[in-house]
Protein backbone atom coordinates (compact mmCIF):
# COMPACT_ATOMS: atom_id res chain seq x y z
CA UNK A 1 0.00 0.00 0.00
CA UNK A 2 1.65 3.26 -1.07
CA UNK A 3 1.84 5.91 1.62
CA UNK A 4 2.08 9.68 1.49
CA UNK A 5 5.80 10.41 1.81
CA UNK A 6 5.36 14.08 0.90
CA UNK A 7 3.08 14.60 3.89
CA UNK A 8 5.70 13.09 6.20
CA UNK A 9 8.55 15.11 4.68
CA UNK A 10 6.71 18.44 4.78
CA UNK A 11 5.67 17.85 8.39
CA UNK A 12 9.13 16.65 9.47
CA UNK A 13 10.77 19.74 7.93
CA UNK A 14 8.87 21.86 10.48
CA UNK A 15 10.82 20.09 13.26
CA UNK A 16 14.09 21.70 12.16
CA UNK A 17 14.89 24.98 13.87
CA UNK A 18 17.30 27.58 12.47
CA UNK A 19 20.88 27.15 13.66
CA UNK A 20 20.52 23.48 14.55
CA UNK A 21 22.90 20.59 13.91
CA UNK A 22 20.87 17.86 12.24
CA UNK A 23 21.52 14.25 11.20
CA UNK A 24 19.43 12.65 8.45
CA UNK A 25 19.15 8.86 8.31
CA UNK A 26 19.24 6.73 5.18
CA UNK A 27 16.09 6.57 3.03
CA UNK A 28 13.16 8.93 3.51
CA UNK A 29 14.91 11.17 6.11
CA UNK A 30 17.77 11.92 3.68
CA UNK A 31 15.22 13.62 1.39
CA UNK A 32 14.70 16.26 4.10
CA UNK A 33 17.90 17.81 2.72
CA UNK A 34 15.74 19.33 0.00
CA UNK A 35 13.31 20.85 2.51
CA UNK A 36 15.86 22.87 4.48
CA UNK A 37 15.92 26.51 3.31
CA UNK A 38 19.40 28.09 2.95
CA UNK A 39 18.46 30.92 5.31
CA UNK A 40 17.82 28.40 8.11
CA UNK A 41 21.62 28.14 8.60
CA UNK A 42 21.32 24.48 9.54
CA UNK A 43 24.39 22.23 9.47
CA UNK A 44 23.71 18.64 8.40
CA UNK A 45 25.95 16.07 10.08
CA UNK A 46 26.84 12.74 8.49
CA UNK A 47 28.47 9.78 10.23
CA UNK A 48 31.38 9.28 7.82
CA UNK A 49 32.83 12.65 8.84
CA UNK A 50 31.21 15.89 7.72
CA UNK A 51 29.31 18.69 9.39
CA UNK A 52 27.67 21.02 6.88
CA UNK A 53 26.94 18.83 3.86
CA UNK A 54 24.35 19.73 1.25
CA UNK A 55 23.14 18.06 -1.96
CA UNK A 56 24.93 18.95 -5.19
CA UNK A 57 22.90 21.08 -7.57
CA UNK A 58 22.21 19.27 -10.86
CA UNK A 59 24.67 21.52 -12.75
CA UNK A 60 27.41 21.25 -10.13
CA UNK A 61 30.51 19.08 -10.78
CA UNK A 62 30.58 15.95 -8.59
CA UNK A 63 33.55 15.47 -6.25
CA UNK A 64 33.84 11.69 -5.93
CA UNK A 65 35.50 12.07 -2.53
CA UNK A 66 32.37 13.71 -1.13
CA UNK A 67 29.51 11.45 -0.02
CA UNK A 68 27.18 11.32 2.95
CA UNK A 69 26.73 8.18 5.05
CA UNK A 70 24.01 6.97 2.68
CA UNK A 71 26.33 7.14 -0.34
CA UNK A 72 24.82 10.25 -1.94
CA UNK A 73 27.19 12.75 -3.54
CA UNK A 74 27.22 15.98 -1.57
CA UNK A 75 29.19 19.18 -1.26
CA UNK A 76 29.77 21.63 1.60
CA UNK A 77 27.80 24.68 2.70
CA UNK A 78 29.30 27.74 4.45
CA UNK A 79 30.57 26.81 7.92
CA UNK A 80 31.23 23.17 7.04
CA UNK A 81 34.02 21.00 8.46
CA UNK A 82 35.48 17.60 7.54
CA UNK A 83 36.90 15.06 9.99
CA UNK A 84 37.43 11.35 10.60
CA UNK A 85 34.71 8.88 11.65
CA UNK A 86 35.90 8.70 15.25
CA UNK A 87 35.42 12.45 15.71
CA UNK A 88 32.09 12.19 13.93
CA UNK A 89 30.85 9.72 16.53
CA UNK A 90 32.38 11.71 19.38
CA UNK A 91 30.06 14.51 18.23
CA UNK A 92 27.12 12.09 18.40
CA UNK A 93 27.98 10.49 21.75
CA UNK A 94 28.67 13.86 23.39
CA UNK A 95 25.17 15.05 22.46
CA UNK A 96 26.34 17.72 20.00
CA UNK A 97 23.77 16.69 17.39
CA UNK A 98 20.51 18.52 18.17
CA UNK A 99 18.08 16.37 16.25
CA UNK A 100 18.23 13.24 14.12
CA UNK A 101 15.62 11.80 11.77
CA UNK A 102 15.40 8.04 11.20
CA UNK A 103 13.17 5.44 9.64
CA UNK A 104 11.72 2.55 11.67
CA UNK A 105 10.42 -1.00 11.40
CA UNK A 106 8.68 -0.65 14.77
CA UNK A 107 8.26 2.04 17.45
CA UNK A 108 6.38 1.56 20.71
CA UNK A 109 4.57 3.40 23.50
CA UNK A 110 7.65 4.00 25.63
CA UNK A 111 9.76 5.21 22.71
CA UNK A 112 11.64 1.98 22.02
CA UNK A 113 12.94 1.82 18.46
CA UNK A 114 13.62 -1.18 16.21
CA UNK A 115 15.16 -0.35 12.85
CA UNK A 116 18.30 -2.40 12.29
CA UNK A 117 17.53 -6.08 12.21
CA UNK A 118 14.79 -8.52 11.20
CA UNK A 119 16.22 -11.85 12.38
CA UNK A 120 16.53 -14.29 9.50
CA UNK A 121 15.50 -11.72 6.89
CA UNK A 122 17.43 -8.46 7.12
CA UNK A 123 20.69 -7.97 8.95
CA UNK A 124 23.03 -5.74 6.94
CA UNK A 125 24.62 -4.31 10.09
CA UNK A 126 24.13 -1.65 12.72
CA UNK A 127 25.86 1.33 11.12
CA UNK A 128 25.50 4.52 13.14
CA UNK A 129 21.87 4.02 14.17
CA UNK A 130 22.50 2.65 17.66
CA UNK A 131 24.74 5.49 18.81
CA UNK A 132 22.56 8.15 17.21
CA UNK A 133 19.41 6.70 18.79
CA UNK A 134 21.00 6.39 22.21
CA UNK A 135 22.77 9.75 22.36
CA UNK A 136 21.11 12.35 20.17
CA UNK A 137 19.21 15.11 22.00
CA UNK A 138 16.01 14.64 20.01
CA UNK A 139 15.10 11.65 17.85
CA UNK A 140 12.28 12.06 15.33
CA UNK A 141 11.04 8.94 13.55
CA UNK A 142 9.68 9.20 10.00
CA UNK A 143 7.93 6.09 8.75
CA UNK A 144 4.76 4.70 7.26
CA UNK A 145 2.08 4.14 9.90
CA UNK A 146 1.53 0.58 8.67
CA UNK A 147 3.71 -1.88 6.80
CA UNK A 148 3.00 -2.90 3.19
CA UNK A 149 0.59 -5.59 4.40
CA UNK A 150 -1.31 -3.03 6.50
CA UNK A 151 0.07 -4.24 9.85
CA UNK A 152 0.62 -1.52 12.47
CA UNK A 153 4.20 -0.35 13.06
CA UNK A 154 3.30 1.75 16.10
CA UNK A 155 3.07 -0.94 18.77
CA UNK A 156 2.46 -1.54 22.50
CA UNK A 157 5.95 -3.01 22.66
CA UNK A 158 8.49 -3.62 19.89
CA UNK A 159 8.93 -7.27 18.95
CA UNK A 160 12.09 -6.93 16.82
CA UNK A 161 15.57 -6.48 18.34
CA UNK A 162 15.87 -2.90 19.62
CA UNK A 163 18.19 -0.30 18.17
CA UNK A 164 17.91 1.55 21.48
CA UNK A 165 15.39 1.59 24.34
CA UNK A 166 13.31 4.69 25.28
CA UNK A 167 15.02 6.91 22.73
CA UNK A 168 12.25 8.34 20.50
CA UNK A 169 10.88 11.86 21.08
CA UNK A 170 8.38 12.20 18.24
CA UNK A 171 6.94 9.93 15.52
CA UNK A 172 5.77 11.33 12.19
CA UNK A 173 3.86 8.92 9.95
CA UNK A 174 1.50 9.38 7.01
CA UNK A 175 -1.40 9.16 9.48
CA UNK A 176 -0.33 11.03 12.63
CA UNK A 177 2.27 12.94 14.59
CA UNK A 178 2.77 11.43 18.04
CA UNK A 179 4.90 12.41 21.03
CA UNK A 180 6.36 9.91 23.48
CA UNK A 181 5.32 11.17 26.94
CA UNK A 182 5.55 9.62 30.42
CA UNK A 183 1.81 8.87 30.09
CA UNK A 184 2.16 7.18 26.68
CA UNK A 185 1.83 8.16 23.03
CA UNK A 186 0.11 11.51 22.72
CA UNK A 187 -1.30 12.47 19.32
CA UNK A 188 -0.19 15.96 18.25
CA UNK A 189 -1.58 16.04 14.70
CA UNK A 190 -3.78 13.77 12.59
CA UNK A 191 -3.40 13.60 8.80
CA UNK A 192 -6.03 15.64 6.95
CA UNK A 193 -9.15 13.64 6.21
CA UNK A 194 -8.46 10.87 8.73
CA UNK A 195 -10.81 10.35 11.68
CA UNK A 196 -9.71 9.54 15.23
CA UNK A 197 -11.45 6.15 14.91
CA UNK A 198 -9.58 5.34 11.68
CA UNK A 199 -6.28 6.29 13.33
CA UNK A 200 -6.95 4.11 16.37
CA UNK A 201 -7.91 1.20 14.11
CA UNK A 202 -4.59 1.47 12.26
CA UNK A 203 -2.52 1.59 15.45
CA UNK A 204 -1.66 -1.15 17.94
CA UNK A 205 -0.37 1.23 20.61
CA UNK A 206 -2.77 3.02 22.93
CA UNK A 207 -3.09 6.64 21.87
CA UNK A 208 -3.80 9.63 24.07
CA UNK A 209 -5.99 11.96 22.01
CA UNK A 210 -7.38 15.27 23.19
CA UNK A 211 -9.68 16.14 20.26
CA UNK A 212 -9.74 19.82 21.23
CA UNK A 213 -5.95 20.13 20.90
CA UNK A 214 -5.13 17.86 17.99
CA UNK A 215 -3.98 19.65 14.83
CA UNK A 216 -3.89 18.47 11.24
CA UNK A 217 -1.17 18.39 8.57
Amino acid sequence: MPYDQQRILARAAREIEPGQIVNLGIGLPSQLFNYIPDEAQVLVHSENGILGGRPCHPDEAIDYDMIDAGGAYITTCPGASLFDSSMSFAMIRRGRVDVTFMGAFEVDEVGNLANWKIPGKFSPGIGGAMELAQKVRRLVIMCSHNDKHGNPKILHRCRLPLTAPRCVSRIITDKAVMDVTPQGLEVVDIAEGLSIEELRAATEASLIIDASRVGSY
Partner: protein, 233 residues
Protein backbone atom coordinates in the same frame (compact mmCIF):
# COMPACT_ATOMS: atom_id res chain seq x y z
CA UNK B 1 60.02 1.33 11.24
CA UNK B 2 61.14 1.96 7.71
CA UNK B 3 63.68 4.77 7.30
CA UNK B 4 62.19 7.91 5.86
CA UNK B 5 64.11 7.71 2.61
CA UNK B 6 63.10 4.08 1.95
CA UNK B 7 59.32 4.37 2.30
CA UNK B 8 58.43 5.11 -1.29
CA UNK B 9 58.17 1.78 -3.08
CA UNK B 10 56.17 -0.07 -5.72
CA UNK B 11 52.67 -1.39 -5.18
CA UNK B 12 53.95 -4.93 -5.92
CA UNK B 13 56.74 -4.77 -3.31
CA UNK B 14 54.51 -3.22 -0.67
CA UNK B 15 51.71 -5.78 -1.04
CA UNK B 16 54.20 -8.70 -1.22
CA UNK B 17 54.93 -8.02 2.47
CA UNK B 18 51.46 -9.30 3.38
CA UNK B 19 51.32 -13.07 4.10
CA UNK B 20 48.23 -15.26 3.77
CA UNK B 21 46.23 -15.33 7.00
CA UNK B 22 47.09 -11.74 7.88
CA UNK B 23 44.70 -9.32 9.59
CA UNK B 24 44.26 -6.16 7.54
CA UNK B 25 42.56 -2.87 8.18
CA UNK B 26 41.23 -1.24 5.02
CA UNK B 27 40.32 2.44 4.95
CA UNK B 28 37.23 3.86 3.29
CA UNK B 29 33.57 4.53 4.03
CA UNK B 30 31.89 3.37 0.84
CA UNK B 31 34.20 4.22 -2.06
CA UNK B 32 35.86 7.44 -0.82
CA UNK B 33 39.10 6.61 0.96
CA UNK B 34 39.18 2.97 -0.19
CA UNK B 35 42.73 2.04 -1.34
CA UNK B 36 41.55 0.41 -4.58
CA UNK B 37 44.99 -0.01 -6.20
CA UNK B 38 46.42 -1.79 -3.12
CA UNK B 39 43.38 -4.09 -2.94
CA UNK B 40 43.59 -4.98 -6.63
CA UNK B 41 47.28 -5.88 -6.24
CA UNK B 42 46.38 -8.04 -3.21
CA UNK B 43 43.84 -9.83 -5.41
CA UNK B 44 46.48 -10.33 -8.13
CA UNK B 45 49.10 -11.71 -5.72
CA UNK B 46 46.73 -14.33 -4.29
CA UNK B 47 47.06 -14.08 -0.49
CA UNK B 48 44.15 -15.84 1.21
CA UNK B 49 42.65 -16.65 4.60
CA UNK B 50 42.57 -12.93 5.27
CA UNK B 51 40.78 -11.16 8.10
CA UNK B 52 39.60 -7.76 6.91
CA UNK B 53 38.54 -4.85 9.08
CA UNK B 54 36.57 -2.27 7.11
CA UNK B 55 33.56 -0.08 7.83
CA UNK B 56 31.60 -1.68 4.98
CA UNK B 57 32.12 -4.29 2.24
CA UNK B 58 32.28 -1.80 -0.67
CA UNK B 59 29.85 -2.71 -3.45
CA UNK B 60 29.77 -5.85 -5.62
CA UNK B 61 32.65 -5.91 -8.10
CA UNK B 62 34.89 -3.29 -6.47
CA UNK B 63 37.33 -2.92 -3.57
CA UNK B 64 37.24 -5.59 -0.87
CA UNK B 65 34.21 -7.17 -2.52
CA UNK B 66 36.56 -8.53 -5.21
CA UNK B 67 38.57 -10.29 -2.49
CA UNK B 68 35.39 -11.62 -0.86
CA UNK B 69 34.05 -12.82 -4.23
CA UNK B 70 37.39 -14.60 -4.92
CA UNK B 71 37.13 -16.46 -1.59
CA UNK B 72 40.23 -14.83 -0.10
CA UNK B 73 38.52 -13.46 3.00
CA UNK B 74 37.64 -15.77 5.87
CA UNK B 75 36.52 -13.12 8.35
CA UNK B 76 35.17 -9.58 8.09
CA UNK B 77 34.96 -7.16 11.01
CA UNK B 78 32.64 -4.36 9.94
CA UNK B 79 29.69 -2.12 10.73
CA UNK B 80 27.31 -2.18 7.77
CA UNK B 81 27.35 -4.26 4.56
CA UNK B 82 23.92 -3.23 3.27
CA UNK B 83 25.25 -1.98 -0.09
CA UNK B 84 26.80 -5.35 -0.93
CA UNK B 85 24.32 -8.16 -1.61
CA UNK B 86 27.23 -10.52 -2.44
CA UNK B 87 28.77 -10.08 1.02
CA UNK B 88 25.35 -10.55 2.65
CA UNK B 89 24.87 -13.79 0.68
CA UNK B 90 28.35 -15.04 1.63
CA UNK B 91 27.54 -14.26 5.27
CA UNK B 92 24.11 -15.93 5.17
CA UNK B 93 25.58 -19.02 3.44
CA UNK B 94 28.21 -19.28 6.18
CA UNK B 95 31.18 -18.87 3.83
CA UNK B 96 32.17 -15.54 5.36
CA UNK B 97 32.34 -15.01 9.10
CA UNK B 98 31.12 -11.47 9.83
CA UNK B 99 31.48 -9.55 13.09
CA UNK B 100 29.34 -6.42 13.23
CA UNK B 101 29.86 -3.45 15.55
CA UNK B 102 28.09 -0.11 15.90
CA UNK B 103 29.94 2.23 13.54
CA UNK B 104 31.33 4.61 16.16
CA UNK B 105 32.34 1.71 18.42
CA UNK B 106 34.27 0.15 15.53
CA UNK B 107 35.97 3.51 14.87
CA UNK B 108 36.77 3.95 18.56
CA UNK B 109 38.16 0.41 18.97
CA UNK B 110 40.57 1.19 16.16
CA UNK B 111 41.40 4.68 17.46
CA UNK B 112 42.01 3.17 20.90
CA UNK B 113 44.55 0.66 19.58
CA UNK B 114 46.16 3.46 17.61
CA UNK B 115 46.53 5.50 20.79
CA UNK B 116 48.33 2.58 22.46
CA UNK B 117 45.55 1.63 24.88
CA UNK B 118 44.05 -1.75 25.76
CA UNK B 119 40.38 -0.77 25.54
CA UNK B 120 37.68 1.59 26.76
CA UNK B 121 34.42 1.60 28.72
CA UNK B 122 31.17 2.60 27.03
CA UNK B 123 27.42 2.60 27.62
CA UNK B 124 26.62 2.23 23.90
CA UNK B 125 24.46 -0.83 23.31
CA UNK B 126 24.50 -1.77 27.00
CA UNK B 127 20.71 -2.27 27.03
CA UNK B 128 20.48 -3.77 23.54
CA UNK B 129 21.75 -6.94 21.94
CA UNK B 130 24.58 -6.05 19.60
CA UNK B 131 25.01 -9.72 18.78
CA UNK B 132 28.39 -9.95 20.50
CA UNK B 133 29.20 -11.19 24.00
CA UNK B 134 30.56 -8.22 25.97
CA UNK B 135 32.22 -8.07 29.35
CA UNK B 136 30.63 -5.61 31.75
CA UNK B 137 32.61 -3.67 34.33
CA UNK B 138 31.36 -1.61 37.26
CA UNK B 139 33.01 1.75 37.61
CA UNK B 140 31.96 4.76 39.69
CA UNK B 141 28.64 3.21 40.59
CA UNK B 142 27.40 2.10 37.20
CA UNK B 143 27.89 -0.63 34.62
CA UNK B 144 29.86 -0.24 31.41
CA UNK B 145 30.66 -2.50 28.51
CA UNK B 146 34.36 -3.14 28.05
CA UNK B 147 35.43 -2.72 24.44
CA UNK B 148 38.91 -4.08 23.76
CA UNK B 149 41.01 -2.10 21.29
CA UNK B 150 41.24 -3.46 17.75
CA UNK B 151 44.65 -3.72 16.09
CA UNK B 152 45.87 -5.31 12.87
CA UNK B 153 49.02 -6.66 11.22
CA UNK B 154 48.63 -4.28 8.30
CA UNK B 155 46.60 -1.23 7.39
CA UNK B 156 45.92 -0.26 3.78
CA UNK B 157 45.02 3.41 3.57
CA UNK B 158 44.36 5.96 0.86
CA UNK B 159 45.47 9.59 0.78
CA UNK B 160 44.86 12.26 -1.83
CA UNK B 161 48.22 13.96 -1.25
CA UNK B 162 51.41 13.01 0.56
CA UNK B 163 55.13 13.54 0.67
CA UNK B 164 57.89 10.96 0.21
CA UNK B 165 58.28 10.54 4.00
CA UNK B 166 54.67 9.37 4.26
CA UNK B 167 52.92 12.48 5.60
CA UNK B 168 49.32 12.07 4.47
CA UNK B 169 46.47 14.44 3.58
CA UNK B 170 42.96 13.12 2.93
CA UNK B 171 40.43 14.78 0.62
CA UNK B 172 36.80 15.46 1.45
CA UNK B 173 35.01 12.60 3.21
CA UNK B 174 37.80 10.21 2.15
CA UNK B 175 39.39 10.60 5.60
CA UNK B 176 36.76 8.50 7.44
CA UNK B 177 38.58 5.43 8.91
CA UNK B 178 41.97 6.08 7.24
CA UNK B 179 43.69 8.22 9.90
CA UNK B 180 42.48 5.85 12.65
CA UNK B 181 43.70 2.72 10.87
CA UNK B 182 47.01 4.37 10.01
CA UNK B 183 47.73 4.41 13.76
CA UNK B 184 46.39 0.98 14.69
CA UNK B 185 48.35 -1.49 12.55
CA UNK B 186 51.90 -2.81 12.90
CA UNK B 187 52.68 -1.98 9.28
CA UNK B 188 50.92 0.75 7.34
CA UNK B 189 50.88 0.79 3.56
CA UNK B 190 49.56 4.04 2.15
CA UNK B 191 48.63 4.77 -1.44
CA UNK B 192 48.54 8.36 -2.66
CA UNK B 193 47.53 10.06 -5.88
CA UNK B 194 50.27 12.63 -5.52
CA UNK B 195 53.66 12.23 -3.78
CA UNK B 196 55.65 15.43 -3.20
CA UNK B 197 59.17 16.08 -1.92
CA UNK B 198 59.46 16.69 1.86
CA UNK B 199 58.79 20.36 2.54
CA UNK B 200 56.14 20.69 -0.15
CA UNK B 201 53.23 20.11 2.26
CA UNK B 202 52.30 22.79 4.75
CA UNK B 203 52.94 21.09 8.13
CA UNK B 204 49.66 22.43 9.54
CA UNK B 205 47.65 20.60 6.87
CA UNK B 206 49.08 17.10 7.48
CA UNK B 207 46.40 14.72 8.81
CA UNK B 208 48.53 11.61 9.45
CA UNK B 209 52.14 12.30 10.49
CA UNK B 210 54.69 10.17 8.61
CA UNK B 211 55.78 8.39 11.82
CA UNK B 212 52.77 6.09 11.42
CA UNK B 213 53.38 5.18 7.76
CA UNK B 214 55.67 2.26 6.84
CA UNK B 215 55.42 2.21 3.05
CA UNK B 216 54.04 4.57 0.46
CA UNK B 217 53.10 3.96 -3.16
CA UNK B 218 52.01 6.42 -5.78
CA UNK B 219 48.93 5.32 -7.71
CA UNK B 220 47.13 6.92 -10.66
CA UNK B 221 43.80 8.63 -10.06
CA UNK B 222 42.33 6.25 -12.63
CA UNK B 223 42.76 3.38 -10.12
CA UNK B 224 39.97 4.86 -8.03
CA UNK B 225 36.45 3.49 -8.44
CA UNK B 226 33.19 5.25 -7.79
CA UNK B 227 30.41 3.45 -6.04
CA UNK B 228 27.75 2.36 -8.46
CA UNK B 229 25.05 2.84 -5.88
CA UNK B 230 26.12 6.39 -5.08
CA UNK B 231 23.33 8.72 -6.04
CA UNK B 232 22.04 12.25 -5.98
CA UNK B 233 19.85 13.19 -3.02
Amino acid sequence: MTRLAQKLTTVEAAIARIPSGATLMVGGFGSPGTPFALLDELLAQGQDGLTLIKNDANEPGIGISRLIEAGRVSRLITSHIGLNRVAIEEMNEGRLSVEIYPQGILAEKIRCAGAGHYGFLTDIGLETDIGMPRREIECEGRNWALEPALRADFALVHAGLSDRYGNLIYNGTAANFNPLMAMAADEVIAQSFQVEEPGALSPTTVHTPCAFVSYLVQVPMSSSEQGRRAHAV
